[in-house]
């Protein structure tokens, strides 16, 4: 079934998948699921010097039918305390929406998400209450993010 599926998969997706597997970006892994080659299991390590350091975050990524004309869909599966990620793991990131370009790739998307963990942006919030916490008392919000990392993202 996988071989039959691969025959139908656009060449671009095959190339991207091969490269993700053979030359993974540091701190990121992505592998397609067996029964759906457009659906990837992703792991991102919390960046050093961020409140997510030491955490292993699971995500899921799906390449819709019109990829690469449309962006991949990505969501966190691990609970995370971050002003740009909501309770369902949805991510507020411009390249996943209006700033998407077919020149971007799965790899660039995942690197951008990793960078978002290093640089939370409470001025463009998705989780309103988390963003407010971040603005009112950043030290305390960072402490909560660390506690959630220990509780939910411990390896």
């Amino acid at each position: 079934m996988a071989a039959n599926q691969a025959a139908q998969l656009p060449r671009r997706i095959i190339k991207e998948t091969q490269r993700l597997l053979t030359e993974p970006a540091p701190g990121i892994s992505a592998s397609p699921s067996e029964d759906n080659l457009r659906y990837f299991n992703v792991m991102i390590l919390g960046p050093t010097s961020s409140p997510y350091e030491g955490g292993v975050f699971k995500l899921e990524l799906f390449l819709p039918e019109d990829y690469p004309m449309a962006p991949p869909k990505v969501r966190f599966l691990t609970k995370i305390y971050h002003p740009n990620i909501d309770k369902l793991g949805r991510i507020c990131l411009d390249i996943l929406k209006d700033k998407w370009s077919p020149a971007l790739q799965i790899r660039t998307v995942l690197l951008s998400i990793q960078a978002l963990l290093s640089a939370p942006n409470p001025d463009d919030p998705l989780a309103e209450n988390v963003a407010k916490h971040w603005k009112d008392n950043e030290a305390e919000a960072v402490e909560t993010a660390r506690a959630w990392t220990r509780q939910f993202a411990a390896n």
């Binding site: 759906n36 457009r38 869909k73 599966l77 609970k79 309770k87 369902l88």
Partner: protein, 139 residues
Amino acid sequence: MSVQVPRNFRLLEELEKGEKGIGDGTVSYGMEDADDMLMRNWTGTIIGPSNTVHDGRIYTLKFHCDLNYPARPPLVRFQSKINMDCVLPDGRVDPTRFAVLGNWSSNYSMETVLTELRRAMASMHNKKLPQPPEGAMYS
């Protein structure tokens, strides 16, 4: 082989559509537990169609989408009491008497279920059946 949208992304699409509101608002739905990352439990409403005994009544129902959704149909149960040929005495919608669930296709959605239940309310058989008092709920 067509592109298969994985369960979670499919439910996120349904969530966004439900949040925007569907058509004229005669059916609607939303997630029951905003903290459940698996998005299993949902609440739907149907406003009874006019020219039937259901006219103007607001029916609430629950959906349970397990991990096999949408390959397998959701479990659907009325919370508001209703007398209808496809609804069992405890409020569950009987898949053997409701084709959307019985002949489920992964292209169907919770919206399909609600729209078709509303259509069934207006069928010759259902539109005149005596009904429990408005607002009565299954325990």
